[in-house]
């Protein structure tokens, strides 16, 4: 009798485990090369087919947006705008209008440090970096005279005009973030609520939290390797910016992040990670905060709800600022994350 009771218990527990396992959401992981980087998505859902189809739809949307915002594709809407909007208002797709509109918000907030019109200067310095041309003050000056976010005029609901004959927009500092936000919308619209979207590691968005966890743990970039900074994402995003590292062999000293005020590559060894409620915001903020530095950037972070930032230089000096969420650093990283996790649990 005791044996049969034990057997029933074992069978029931095996069945229970099987049922629990059956109800556990399955994880689906997919990756795709788009916008010049690898987008990765992990989604949890009870139906792996549903999650897989939702991820595919999200990737399709990123590909669609690349066709709109790409600077490399001559047939993209952005390339067409860059060819034709000088002194003539051009009608553009709603996504392009929206991302330009959001870019201008960050340009105003940062007093021009974030500027999507530095594209020609970025290209100039890239070709210097590749050794295709040498530095020329005259060329640099000419290109600087083309740029300036105030020379973009938005004509709602869907038209844009450039007030410069040589202005050109580059959405490299915000486009991926915008695409990540749209991908999250696509996943939600298809009933997937737990997901993690990673655009090449430089912009990341955590939707809800993975099973048995309070959020998505993210280790942040630290050029010194001394601080082990981490954040816990739950319906928010983190982005990281860092200037191209200086060369080792005595070639060019250029970099890919240009300071709009000077027209030259910014000289800093720091990496900046910025948290924000949306990926568009974190993407724009990280570049802006790299240019502003901690002294000027702190007030911008504190005035932006849901944002936080950490600057870490190659010597390992770290400075943080927060308008809400926390970033844990060093030995406290684990306990800070635990405290943050508890807080997230309480809030939800």
């Amino acid at each position: 009798m005791r044996w049969s009771k034990a057997l029933v218990t074992v069978v029931l527990s095996v069945l229970f485990t099987a049922i629990v396992a059956e109800c556990q959401p399955a994880s689906v992981y997919k990756k795709k090369y788009v916008m010049g980087t690898v987008f990765e998505v992990i989604a949890y859902d009870e139906s792996s087919q549903k999650a897989s189809a939702a991820i595919d739809a999200a990737f399709n949307d990123a590909t669609r947006l690349d066709g709109i915002m790409s600077n490399y594709k001559p047939e993209s809407d952005l390339s067409r705008l860059n060819r034709t909007a000088h002194f003539h208002a051009q009608r553009i797709p709603p996504d392009l209008y929206r991302v330009i509109e959001e870019s201008l918000v960050y340009s105003r907030l940062s007093d021009g440090q974030f500027d999507i019109t530095v594209g020609p200067l970025v290209d100039y310095w890239k070709s210097v970096m590749r050794g295709e041309r040498s530095e020329s003050k005259a060329a640099e000056e000419k290109l600087r005279s083309c740029s300036g976010f105030k020379r973009i005029t938005l004509l709602p609901p869907d038209r844009v005009e450039f007030q410069s004959s040589c202005l050109r927009i580059d959405l490299g500092a915000i486009g991926k973030g915008y695409a990540v936000d749209r991908m999250a919308e696509v996943l939600r619209s298809r009933g997937v609520t737990v997901a993690f979207i990673n655009a090449g590691g430089s912009t990341i968005y955590g939707m809800s939290s993975p099973p048995q966890a309070a959020g998505w743990r993210v280790r942040l970039r630290d050029p010194s390797g001394k601080n082990a900074p981490e954040v816990l994402l739950k319906n928010n995003s983190v982005s990281t910016s860092e200037q191209t590292s200086p060369d080792l062999l005595g070639g060019s000293k250029a970099g890919h992040i240009i300071d709009p005020k000077t027209g030259e590559p910014v000289k800093t060894s720091a990496a900046v990670s910025a948290l924000a409620n949306t990926a568009t915001a974190s993407d724009a903020l990280s570049t802006t905060l790299l240019l502003l530095g901690p002294d000027r950037g702190t007030s911008l972070v504190k005035s932006t709800a849901g944002s936080a930032a950490i600057w870490i230089n190659s010597a390992g000096n770290a400075e943080t600022a927060s308008g809400g969420p926390s970033i844990s650093v060093g030995e406290n990283a684990g306990s800070d994350i635990a405290a943050q996790a508890a807080e997230i649990h309480r809030a939800h």
């Binding site: 050794g131 430089s202 860092e242 590292s245 080792l248 070639g251």
Partner: protein
């Protein structure tokens, strides 16, 4: 048939002869379809005494069966391999060093000259475009990165080292699949198999392709889906089985190394950036062995012979980069060095220079980019655009100077890739496993370079560049 069509047909026929890259199929299950049905001849069976019967049944199915075993087992299996009817023994040296495994193989070959011994490099990786996600036991840990450039897991560096250190054998390698989530049960995607086959073919190496057990079982029980998958993979097997041979890889950069592990990542990143690299052992280096390179990167300590070669190389107007240089005095120190920040110092040597890096290469990505920057643009043998996920390897036809470019797209999504090859080649043809042989493309000849576009590179393709007469160009 028009004249151009006849020419293309002729080229295709010429290319139908078997070439170098062989794919061995690793089979771990107990039933295998016949060789004729699968369309493959070489089967590899990991050694277990209980699989003896299977080895014999696989032979009866028409396969050349190779037994894979470790170094110790190889010694004892050698005498019985012929009795089992094995076509050869593939020795997996495990963690043994390249050179010690090579010594052990030489001994085995001397004792058993009738056995075909092949040495396997089991340290390859699954070719793939990688993301940055790290999944640990606690869930997902994502490491942020400031550069969004995709990372490619490619085996080109491993094979370049193999070619330098085991020149007697065509490199033979294998890897384990890295599968996440539901893919662990279902196995790799078709495109993953195709990329693996294409990589070995493009790099002119032999591959043991591990077939996931779900695919092996599906093929064995005649499952339609499994056979549909296999037919797709078969296009790639066929394409690379018919590769041209007598091709010599072209390189701008010579890397001199004694197989020091510190040289691996720099070579890997150079390959990733499509900078043609040839690896030389220190004892191979001389003025003549360096004559076709623009840059020489030197990892080992300088012997007097190496010092002399480096000095002559620089004096002829080129750049030698010495890594992790100790404070010894060298010939070129008689010139005043120019400091490049804290990391390196450059010494002019007649028309060229020697750059001394004070430490090992800590950032291979930056190092590779810098090496690219040191090569004069007019000397770059191959350049690719819109190709962050593409590796292109340029080969020269040994007899007539025509060129072949093998292209691999690790993203597995069609890309429009632009290519520029040094030299004037008015005739350019493209072929691919999906599209077959051969489409003529319209090259643009500019400033001594040939430029062309591949409108849709899916996983892999091959470009033939010829100076004039295609009949002459494609003779092998």
């Amino acid at each position: 048939m028009t004249k151009p069509q006849r020419i293309i047909f002729f080229i295709c026929v010429l290319y139908a002869a078997p070439g170098w890259a062989r794919v061995f199929l690793e089979w771990t299950q107990n039933v295998v379809p016949p060789s004729k049905t699968l369309g493959i001849n070489e089967l590899v069976i990991p050694w277990e005494p209980k699989r003896l019967a299977f080895i014999q049944s696989a032979r009866a199915q028409g396969y050349h069966v190779y037994i894979e075993c470790n170094l110790e087992e190889a010694a004892s299996l050698a005498s019985s391999a012929a009795r089992y009817g094995a076509a050869g023994i593939i020795v997996n040296p495990g963690d043994a060093q390249l050179q010690s495994a090579e010594r052990a193989m030489r001994k085995l070959r001397a004792i058993h000259p009738q056995i075909n011994f092949l040495l396997l490099n089991p340290n390859a990786i699954q070719p793939q475009m990688k993301g940055t996600l790290v999944i640990n036991r606690d869930g997902v840990l994502q490491v942020t990165s400031p550069t969004a450039q995709p990372w490619l897991d490619t085996n080109l560096a491993l094979l370049r080292l193999e070619q330098a250190f085991r020149p007697a054998q065509v490199p033979l390698y294998t890897f384990n699949w890295t599968l996440l989530g539901s893919a662990r049960q279902q196995g790799p995607e078709v495109a993953d198999y195709e990329l693996a086959v294409a990589e070995a073919g493009a790099f002119k190496a032999d591959l043991i392709l591990p077939l996931h057990e779900s695919l092996q079982n599906g093929l064995a029980r005649n499952d339609d889906k499994a056979w549909a998958t296999w037919r797709e993979i078969g296009k790639y097997l066929h394409f690379y089985a018919n590769s041209p041979n007598n091709l010599v890889p072209e390189a701008n950069v010579a890397v001199i190394t004694d197989d020091n592990p510190e040289s691996f990542e720099p070579i890997n990143l150079l390959a990733r950036h499509n900078i043609g690299v040839r690896v030389l052992r220190p004892n191979q280096v001389s003025e003549s062995s360096l004559k076709n390179f623009d840059i020489a990167i030197v990892f080992p300590n300088l012997s007097p012979q190496l010092t002399q070669a480096v000095s002559q190389f620089a004096a002829s107007g080129r750049t030698a980069v010495l890594v992790n240089v100790n404070k010894k005095s060298y010939l070129w120190h008689s010139s005043k060095g120019i400091e490049n920040g804290a990391a390196s110092v450059s010494y002019p040597v007649k028309k060229g220079r020697v750059v001394e890096l004070r430490e090992p290469v800590s950032d291979p990505e930056t190092f590779a980019r810098d090496i690219r920057g040191l090569i004069d643009n007019v000397k770059i043998k191959i350049s690719l655009w819109n190709a962050l996920t593409t590796v292109g390897v340029l080969y020269r036809e040994a007899s007539n100077g025509s060129k072949t470019v093998e292209l691999l797209n690790y993203s597995e999504d069609p890309l429009e890739v632009q290519v520029r090859v040094k030299g004037v080649f008015p005739q350019v043809w493209y072929e691919s496993p999906e599209g077959g042989c051969c489409k003529s493309t319209d090259p643009v000849i500019r400033d001594g370079f040939t430029e062309f576009q591949i409108p849709s590179l899916k996983i892999s393709g091959r470009v033939h560049l010829s100076r004039a007469n295609p009949h002459a160009s494609f003779q092998r």
